[in-house]
């Protein structure tokens, strides 16, 4: 709370300096804004929101309060973003789960059409890693997949819960290659890293920020990733696509607002976000925090969202994903 007050007053000073020469016709918020984050404080989602929020304050001319709503695995937050007053003073940060939740959680009553879009703010790849001193530490990705195919279910693959992004990646690798892993649910990326180090599991598909320390220390070895651009941290690691394998469900985050927000207000936010995403301070903050930089305007984001929903729909149906009660 104190931080909000502090950053708020700092932003107010900045606002006076910057807002005046800004384009006068565009809509801007007239009072402090709530940015709802569907996760607790700390962690990738929250870090992303706090970094972006601090930069956007400069261009919005108003303080931006980060509201963490981790309840119900984000379901509560997604509903609140959808049902908010459409006046541009409550916006939300979403991840790819706004399109995948409906396929994996019973009773989810939101999908891509429940929101208006401001733009994409980041993207993160899943990196296939093995323990460097383990039985697969000397292999490249092709050799690893051959080994996995030779002995189905022999390689234990750590995933962070039921049909999370890590799990979808595991499924895509299996589908694309014909390999079969022993699927081992483990709570959270940090715990998967520990299980890799202790030898309990042999492989995992994790975000770069989750494995950076161990890869740099030579304890984990990255084999391949599911993004379309080279990894910022390890540009030599091949993508699955470059090997001709369809393993491509990288996650993204975006800003949204209620569906029936007036176009003028939505456009106002789109321009705030665009200015923030082009701010060098933001790019530097992302790099330090290990957040993958990726920006798309609203129109391109809708395309991204549509593609993701189609992909998750077909994979969930093919895999026979059982919806968990909510």
């Amino acid at each position: 709370m104190f931080r909000h007050i502090l950053s708020g007053s700092a932003a107010l000073v900045a606002a006076v300096a910057i807002a005046l020469p800004a384009v006068a016709q565009e809509w801007r918020p007239s009072r402090p804004v709530d940015l709802i984050v569907p996760s607790g404080a700390g962690g990738g989602h929250d870090n992303n929101a706090r970094l972006l929020g601090a930069i956007m304050e400069k261009y919005a001319g108003q303080p931006i309060n980060i509201i963490n709503q981790p309840a119900g695995g984000g379901v509560v937050a997604y509903r609140e973003m959808r049902d908010a007053e459409p006046d541009g003073h409550k916006i939300g940060q979403v991840s790819v789960s706004i399109v995948s939740d409906q396929f994996r959680i019973e009773g989810v009553d939101y999908n891509k059409d429940s929101y208006a879009y401001i733009g994409q703010i980041s993207a993160d790849q899943n990196v296939l890693v093995v323990a460097a001193n383990g039985p697969y530490g000397e292999m490249d990705v092709t050799q690893f997949i051959e080994a996995a195919k030779a002995e189905p279910q022999a390689i234990a693959f750590g995933v962070s819960g039921n049909w999370t992004n890590h799990d979808y990646t595991r499924y895509q690798i299996e589908q694309a290659t014909g390999a079969q892993f022993l699927r081992v649910p483990i709570k959270g990326g940090a715990q998967i890293v520990l299980s890799l180090l202790s030898g309990d599991v042999q492989a995992g598909a994790l975000y770069p920020s989750e494995i950076k320390a161990q890869v740099d220390a030579g304890q984990l070895k990255p084999l391949a990733h599911n993004g379309s651009e080279p990894l910022a941290a390890w540009p030599d690691v091949p993508s699955f696509s470059s090997l001709g394998l369809e393993v491509n469900l990288a996650i993204w985050r975006a800003l949204v607002m209620p569906k029936d927000t007036p176009e003028e207000i939505r456009k106002g936010w789109e321009s705030i976000l665009e200015q923030a995403m082009n701010d060098p301070a933001l790019k530097e903050g992302y790099a330090n925090a290990g957040i993958g930089y990726a920006y798309r305007n609203a129109e391109d984001t809708i395309e991204l969202v549509n593609e993701a929903e189609a992909a998750y729909r077909s994979i969930s149906e093919a895999a026979g994903v059982q919806k968990a009660s909510q």
């Binding site: 404080a41 962690g43 709503q69 309840a71 119900g72 819960g161 039921n162 483990i186 599991v201 320390a213």
Partner: protein, 500 residues
């Protein structure tokens, strides 16, 4: 040498103006709540937990740790002066400490307690610095099966070492495990016991259970008692003990430090156990055991040292294995998780600045406490004059703010009220809720590790017996349990806790 460079790193982190300030805030608050009976370190930490969002994780942990060991100092002050233990670990200090105060040696008693605590705190910190890295290196190779076995030992120890009848502790433990089941099952994603409330699918928050069962319940219990507080009018007397007095209690301080350090490391162990064990030990080795209870300085020095040493070393299981050994450590774990720090063997190598900063700050905090407690003793005593009718509404308000801010959701306040009602029933039934709290936090980890171990062993229960470390730990748990129910030991245990 590694050790020296590590301590240097710790000094660089701990001796920044902000961290010194947070350390000071922690130990001051700890002393305050230690002196005031009716509010413990657990409830205070639970209230402050959400406020640490805005802090750097190292500063947050430094402050929370300061509350914990600061309360050990403060607790003895009111025990010695008023025969009113501010903390359960200070109960022992009411025996010989109060007797000394009645003989006009209050100042000496306070000084002996503070000096003993400082020596023990230093000792405990050194033990932590020396053993934690080695243990963490070893623990890196632990798999799910080993963790499962370790947690079983922890839970059994929680029963054996808790106060009150075994059967009650066992019942509380089972309740805690059941509470821990609420929420989405990690393997299948299916919700358990959520009754369709989406807020419950992430599980019941630890802050809810801790504040409900400890914070609010403590207030209810205190409100029932009529407010009778006497303030010692007796002089505190001279503060500095003579050299001969110091020399005579030094062996007791050293014994207490060693015993406390050991008991602090054990799962389920903690400060109260350490204080009682040390008192029993001092009485046994004393030349004239009949002096105990009549103002024997060793009977004060030993336990006061032991509880402070244990307060330091009880951080070891959390910082090396990620397993909290008592309720306060469970709170520290929750504070680390809030800041996205996963407690476990990777803490020391992954975030050395946090680990060593915390260790060094504990020593600095201990030093601050001696300065805070001795010359300013008069001010602290005066605090006991604040009427409860002002104190309790304020505490309750802070509880509610804390509860709401965890998830920005009022559901947690309602849940805490339910927990508080439950806690009141436990209070009336004289059930110690600590096993419940421990089982609540260890239970989900226990389940996850057992199921993962079974999955990796392809469903073969035999793996629990064929992995040597797992088998030995499970055997240890069994022995502990058998010992606890054997009639002879049961009697000793009863004696150890009877003064409480």
């Amino acid at each position: 040498m590694d050790f020296v460079s590590n301590i240097a790193l710790g000094l660089a982190v701990a001796v920044t103006p902000w961290n010194i300030l947070y350390c000071f805030a922690g130990v001051t608050l700890g002393t305050l709540i230690g002196i005031l009976p009716g509010i413990g370190p657990l409830a205070t930490m639970a209230m402050l937990l959400p406020a640490t969002y805005a802090l750097d994780p190292t500063s947050a942990l430094i402050m929370l740790a300061g509350i914990y060991y600061g309360a050990q100092y403060g607790g003895s002050t009111s025990a010695i002066l008023l025969r009113l233990p501010g903390e359960s670990s200070a109960v022992v200090a009411t025996l010989d400490g109060y007797a000394m105060a009645q003989k006009g040696q209050a100042g000496v008693a306070l000084a002996i307690a503070a000096i003993g605590s400082l020596i023990a705190g230093t000792f405990g910190t050194l033990v932590l610095a020396a053993f934690a890295p080695a243990l963490a290196n070893f623990a890196i190779s632990f798999g799910a099966a080993e963790y499962f076995a370790l947690m079983v030992v922890g839970l059994v120890a929680a029963i054996v070492l808790s106060s009150g009848p075994i059967l009650k502790s066992f019942g509380m433990l089972i309740l805690g495990l059941l509470f821990g089941l609420v929420g989405a099952d990690i393997n299948s994603g299916i919700d358990r016991f959520t009754f369709g409330v989406p807020q419950l699918s992430g599980g019941i928050s630890f802050v809810v259970v801790a504040l409900g069962l400890f914070g609010i319940t403590e207030i209810l219990g205190n409100l029932e008692r009529s407010e009778t507080r006497r303030l010692v009018s007796a002089r505190i007397g001279r503060l500095l003990p003579r050299l001969a007095e110091l020399r005579s209690v030094m062996p007791a301080i050293l014994r207490g430090s060693g015993l406390g350090s050991l008991l602090g490391i054990l799962p389920g162990g903690g400060v109260t156990m350490a204080a009682f064990a040390s008192y029993t030990m001092e009485k046994r080795v004393a030349a004239q055991p009949e002096r105990f209870g009549q103002g024997a300085p060793e009977g004060l020095a030993g336990p006061e040292s032991a509880n402070n040493a244990a307060a330091q070393t009880s951080f070891i299981p959390l910082l090396t294995l990620g397993i909290p050994s008592n309720g306060v450590m469970a709170m520290m774990m929750s504070a680390m998780l809030i800041h996205n720090i996963q407690p476990g063997p990777q803490i020391i190598s992954g975030t050395p600045d946090l680990f060593w900063g915390l260790v060094v700050s504990m020593w600095i905090g201990n030093l601050m406490l001696v300065i805070l407690n001795l010359p300013m003793i008069g001010i602290w005593v005066r605090l006991l004059l604040v009427p409860y009718r002002f104190l309790f509404p304020a505490i309750l308000l802070f509880c509610c703010i804390g509860l709401y801010s965890v998830q920005n959701d009022v559901t947690d306040i309602y849940l805490a009220v339910i927990c508080a009602a439950l806690g009141y029933v436990f209070l009336k039934l004289r059930c110690d809720p600590v096993p419940l709290l421990l089982a609540f936090i260890i239970g989900p980890m226990l389940e996850e590790n057992l199921r993962r171990a079974m999955l990796l062993a392809r469903g073969d229960f035999g793996m629990l017996l064929t992995r040597p470390l797992t088998a030995s730990l499970l055997a240890l748990a069994l022995i502990l349990l058998v010992m606890a129910v054997l009639p002879k030991i049961r009697r000793t245990r009863k004696v150890a806790f009877q003064e409480e």
